[in-house]
């Protein structure tokens, strides 16, 4: 099991002279005899200031806090929910505390956070705000998109900053969130689509027990911003899962190769993009079956 991550600026931010407000981290946690891998992404709000800093702080705080909030095994549903909420609280408080020193605390915290953690068999996904996660099996890819009305995600920071929360409630007319699951086949064809709506305050976490997953990824919604003639973002989802090999910087290699090909085909991504992936299986060995 190993992990890697990647993030890059979108073309709209380049044109506007803005920084990349996405960030990602990945790595390993060893807890006694158990080894976990984590994958984390954060996407800062482009209409708030200093969210590039906020996204980084949230990711690094998340790594710090994951050590304190490792799963204990055979947890009940309520324990898993409690872990999700306690982890989110700890991360947001910790990141905000660090940012207070820079006098840019409030706005900078307008950033999403998506975390995947796995021990190889138990996979935990915690989403705070909007974002995506991808479960890739041998012959199928399950792509989950979490979206909020008006593209205005409910940031976890709103639990603490009521002024910001009031402004947020003025923006949205309906308190709802949509989760779309799209299952793609081995050729990228759509096999199934499932759409679910829920209240935007519903805790967004998942615990999956599965030894047969090939990769588990979290990504920002920038993955849906890849556009070009005859290009749908689901093709990008398939591309980001088409790793040729898994040693070292395997995610960076895949994405850089994809971006190089995209450039030749005039496929652009206007939004910042971040992805972090946990790979299950042997690191050595190449996959010649991929495009």
């Amino acid at each position: 099991m190993n992990s890697d991550n990647f993030f890059c600026i979108g073309s709209s931010h380049v044109r506007e002279g803005k920084p990349c407000e996405d960030y990602s981290l990945s790595g390993e946690i060893i807890d006694g005899e158990k080894t976990y891998n984590y994958a984390i992404v954060s996407d800062g709000c482009s209409s708030s200031s200093n969210t590039d800093l906020g996204a980084r702080m949230l990711c690094h705080q998340a790594v710090n806090d994951l050590y304190q909030f490792l799963p204990v095994g055979n947890e009940s549903d309520s324990q898993i929910l409690s872990r999700h909420e306690d982890l989110g609280d700890s991360i947001v408080r910790g990141a905000a505390g660090s940012l207070a020193a820079f006098d840019c605390q409030s706005d900078a915290m307008h950033a999403t956070l998506c975390i995947a953690l796995s021990d190889g068999e138990n996979h935990y996904i915690n989403i705070y705000g909007d974002g995506c996660f991808i479960i890739a099996e041998e012959d199928k890819i399950h792509f989950y998109e979490i979206e909020y009305e008006g593209n205005a995600p409910h940031y976890y920071w709103y639990h603490y900053k009521f002024d910001d929360y009031d402004k947020y409630l003025d923006l949205v007319s309906e308190r709802k969130r949509t989760i779309t699951r799209t299952t793609l086949g081995s050729l990228g064809e759509i096999l199934e689509v499932d759409i679910c709506e829920e209240d935007f305050l519903t805790p967004n976490y998942l615990h999956v027990i599965n030894k047969d997953i090939k990769t588990l990824s979290v990504a920002s919604d920038g993955i849906t911003s890849f556009e070009g003639e005859c290009h749908h973002y689901l093709k990008t989802v398939k591309e980001v899962c088409a790793h040729k090999n898994f040693a070292g910087d395997f995610v960076k290699r895949r994405i850089l190769s994809m971006l190089k090909k995209n450039k030749k085909q005039s496929i652009d991504h206007y939004d910042d993009f971040s992805i972090a992936t946990i790979h299950f299986g042997e690191i050595n060995g190449t996959d010649d079956s991929k495009d």
Binding site: K244, N245, A247, R253, S257, N284, G285, T286, D288
Partner: protein, 248 residues
């Protein structure tokens, strides 16, 4: 077919093209996103008799200097020696796995004729093949080849036109970001210089450097030039263009 180094080198594999066989580090052992492929092809023909240890030292110093580069993690080096045949001293190896103080000791034994065109063809084809394999596996790659000789071709089975075709096919294929081929003449004879310049033009190589007669000082200077050129090539990776040409 070149003489092949069959020493047990964990993590490497044999790769076959239609013309050649060479060894290279297994691609699934590589962790970075990009690689610069360096080939050093050194003449060991009979006219260089007595320079065996000096030539080894030149290669050793060049590789040692390359290891100091902050791009060392992304550089892979292959060294071949040629007379009327090519001998692979080592295949494509990660720079950090080469011990320049011991890996080149007693590897060059001068004697025989000069098959410069064959060595050049081997270097280009092998580099193109391994580069293609890297790019297929999502790596970005570029290459630089040094052909170091003290004289003109006498024994090749291939022509300079064959080398030119191999070079052109590699460039047109666009698998590698760039490939630079530098011919170094360890000579200051007018005839040899003229013939080597002719080869450089016919084979569409990038540069001909005239080093002058073989001396320890000149070889040390050559080692420095190789190292600087490798560093420059590695830094150019990802820019889409060739590296800046350096003066000798």
């Amino acid at each position: 077919m070149p003489k092949f180094n069959t020493s047990n080198d964990g993590g490497s594999e044999k790769i076959t093209t239609s013309n050649y066989e060479f060894s290279a580090v297994r691609i699934d052992e590589l962790g970075s996103t990009e690689q610069t492929l360096v080939t050093i092809a050194v003449d060991k023909s009979g006219s260089l008799h007595g320079q065996d240890r000096n030539l080894e030292k030149m290669v050793s110093e060049a590789v040692k200097s390359c290891k100091k580069s902050d791009r060392a993690e992304s550089i892979i080096v292959r060294v071949i020696a040629f007379d009327h045949n090519e001998t692979e001293i080592h295949g494509f190896k990660q720079l950090n796995s080469i011990d320049p103080d011991s890996d080149y000791a007693n590897t060059i034994n001068t004697g025989g004729g000069t098959a410069l065109f064959d060595a050049a063809h081997n270097a280009v084809i092998s580099t193109a093949k391994y580069g293609e394999m890297l790019v297929d596996q999502d790596f970005a790659a570029n290459a630089i080849i040094f052909l170091i000789t003290d004289g003109c071709d006498e024994h090749s089975t291939l022509s300079s036109a064959s080398v030119a075709k191999a070079v052109k096919d590699t460039r047109v294929g666009e698998m590698l970001d760039s490939i630079a081929i530098v011919l170094v003449g360890m000579t200051d004879g007018q005839y040899a210089t003229s013939r080597l310049n002719e080869f450089k033009n016919e084979a569409e190589l990038d540069e001909y450097i005239e080093m002058g007669d073989v001396t320890t000082q000149k070889l040390a200077k050559l080692a420095g030039y190789v190292s600087r050129s490798v560093s420059s090539t590695s830094q150019a990776l990802g820019t889409g263009g060739p590296s800046t040409s350096l003066s000798f």
